[in-house]
């Protein structure tokens, strides 16, 4: 008789955590220490040689952070996870395992502006070349595959307009190309969408957003789905060739279905260094306990605000996949039946000036460059998060000059609507 499988909310509270063996502390303690003593010389050598499981140094792993890692692996249905200092750090660490200088990866054109910037400029200096494809045209991914393509990168719910990506269709392109599909699941969280169930091989998050949820701690995470066969075609030397850093072990054959997460830890995080603070891990863990409750409220509020805006005479258009009239509504009903998230955009009839005026007249919405906070947030992407893009790229990524982005919080929706109403009528 197999144990029944616990539901999502139970995992959100319990996965990875257990009362502390020495003190009985029920909440995961903050192990604010850089390093951990070894039992003896052989134990130290076993840990450094990856022969034993255990703690060495907080840049490589930490018991508080490990609880966060296991919890998100469980919530996403992955085999293992690795937490890092930010969502951006997660992307660097993932691609370092997959690409050699001169290699390529395909990315969806609709992404967080910071990711577009990182892929276009920062990664170019590593010799990692990004090729862009249109998530609304699956054929554009197929046409962009070359023999040097090593990965495909998409967002499940895409910044800034909250559009929904057809994960299964792009997973099929990745499968045919023999490369892993990486899905940034930040705006959906595993509560709304579990990309691994739809064919993703690797999931990344900015924990800073809905997972942490309170706007107080930066963090990022990489989840290994345990689905990709790294031994095939010998395309991934970090996984499949004897690693000189570890006396010639092959990560893939040694760590089986969590090999990618181990590679990210022992080749990526260890050597690049973007470790998460144990204190941040604790804050984010606390946030995750209420993730299901918060996401329900975020989505309920977002739908109500989107409906209000869609009926307002000053509003030209609303892009929210949760609206029946939205072009992404069909995909939203398939991939995110519990709600289409809480980040979306709308444009004003008054254009750029009306957008600037709205932002300055809002009294409850905070004007800042984050999403996924308990508080409702507003920003004008064209002049901030997407300002580094040229005008054409701004429009293509959904951040045209007349566009305002909202991240709806968990306040009372009537108060949010009243704030928007007064700001629009000024």
């Amino acid at each position: 008789m197999t144990d029944r499988l616990p539901g999502f909310s139970t995992l959100a509270v319990h996965a990875g955590a257990q009362p502390d063996p020495t003190t009985g502390a029920r909440v995961t303690p903050i192990y604010q220490t850089t390093s951990f003593v070894f039992n003896d010389a052989d134990h130290a050598a076993s840990l450094f040689g990856l022969q034993a499981f255990g703690n060495i140094y907080t840049r490589i792993g930490n018991p508080t952070t490990a609880v966060l890692e296991e919890r998100i692996a469980a919530l996403e249905g992955g085999t293992a996870a690795l937490a890092v200092a930010s969502g951006h750090a997660a992307q660097v660490v993932v691609l370092q395992q997959l690409l050699m200088p001169g290699d390529e990866f395909i990315a969806a054109r609709k992404l967080y502006g910071g990711s577009i910037n990182q892929f276009t400029h920062a990664f170019k200096s590593f010799g990692w070349n990004v090729a862009w494809a249109d998530p609304d045209d699956i054929g554009s991914f197929e046409r962009t595959v070359t023999p040097r393509t090593k990965a495909i990168f998409i967002e499940s719910i895409a910044n800034p307009a909250g559009s929904i990506t057809d994960i299964e269709a792009i997973a099929e392109v990745a499968r045919k190309a023999g490369v892993p599909l990486i899905v940034d699941n930040t705006l959906a969280t595993p509560y709304l969408i579990r990309p691994i169930d739809h064919g993703a091989d690797i999931v990344v998050h900015s924990l800073t957003k809905f997972l942490g949820g309170h706007g107080n701690s930066l963090g990022g995470i990489i989840v290994d789905a345990g689905t990709f066969d790294w031994s095939k075609d010998n395309k991934y030397p970090m996984l499949n060739e004897p690693r000189p850093e570890y006396h010639g072990i092959r990560i893939q054959e040694t760590f089986g279905n969590f090999a990618f997460a181990i590679a990210c830890r022992v080749l990526g995080l260890r050597d690049l260094g973007p470790a998460l603070s144990p204190f941040n891990a604790f804050m984010i863990l606390t946030g995750i306990e209420t993730l299901p409750l918060r996401m329900q409220k975020h989505c309920e509020n977002a739908k109500a605000v989107a409906e209000f805006l869609a009926g307002h005479s000053a509003v030209a258009s609303v892009n929210y996949a949760g609206l029946a009239s939205d072009r992404y509504n069909k995909l939203a009903r398939k991939y995110a039946p519990k709600g289409a998230g809480a980040v979306f955009t709308f444009s004003l009839r008054g254009g750029y000036d009306a957008g600037v005026s709205l932002v300055s007249n809002l009294k409850l919405f905070s004007h800042l460059a984050n999403v996924g906070d308990t508080r409702s947030l507003v920003i004008h992407p064209a002049s901030t998060t997407h300002s580094q893009l040229d005008d054409d790229a701004k429009v293509r990524s959904g951040a045209g000059p007349d566009v305002v982005r909202l991240s709806i919080g968990i306040e009372d929706k009537e108060d949010l609507i009243a704030d928007l109403e007064q700001a629009l009528s000024v």
Partner: protein, 194 residues
């Protein structure tokens, strides 16, 4: 017996009850997975016997290699086979000639031979396929959680105090949690010829 998914209690009862483990295909090369598993299990108190005809006369962590199962010369509780799927059957056939019979035959990660398993089970031997005892020990004790691995267990009980530094006990109360269905499906598709 369903060999696609094992109940945690099945694996835990095996790892808690066997004392001696003969590892067929054990390697003295300290970067091979079999060496990792041999050392880890030896450190957790199992009486380990390395079986590999290519290394007779040598020792693995102080234990002399034997050429074959019949050369062990004393009863063993479990046989852990570090060979690919196509080399499993002869090892199982040899195991079935031992007296007394081993209680468990375990095939490593990636290795599966359903016909061999059926034969062993018909003789009353418990079988585990396509798993690693090191990973399963680490998972059920929650040691593996230190590496961010999904142990697929939940527990509200205080964990046993670690022994010998950071070693955790298998005697931990837990319920199942955190399924990894996509990975299990991928492993199954890989093991089935297309």
């Amino acid at each position: 017996m369903n060999h696609d998914a094992y109940d945690d209690n099945y694996i835990r009862s095996i790892l808690n009850s066997v004392k001696s483990i003969a590892m067929v295909g054990a390697s003295p090369v300290n970067v091979r997975p079999s060496y990792f598993a041999f050392k880890y299990l030896a450190q957790r108190g199992y009486d380990m016997i390395p079986v590999n005809p290519g290394h007779v006369g040598k020792q693995l962590l102080g234990k002399p290699f034997v050429a074959s199962l019949s050369d062990i010369g004393r009863p063993v509780d479990m046989i852990d086979i570090f060979r690919s799927s196509s080399h499993i059957m002869p090892v199982v056939d040899e195991a079935l000639t031992l007296s007394p019979l081993p209680r468990v035959i375990w095939m490593q990660l990636g290795a599966r031979d359903d016909a061999a398993a059926e034969k062993a089970e018909a003789a009353g031997i418990k079988v585990v396929m396509n798993r690693c005892p090191k990973i399963e020990y680490g998972r059920l004790s929650s040691e593996i959680s230190w590496m961010g691995v999904n142990s697929r267990t939940l527990s509200s009980k205080r964990a046993p105090i670690p022994t010998q530094g950071m070693r955790l006990s298998l005697n931990r109360m837990s319920v199942g949690g955190g399924a990894t269905a996509a990975s299990d499906r991928a492993a199954k598709n890989k093991s089935e010829p297309t």
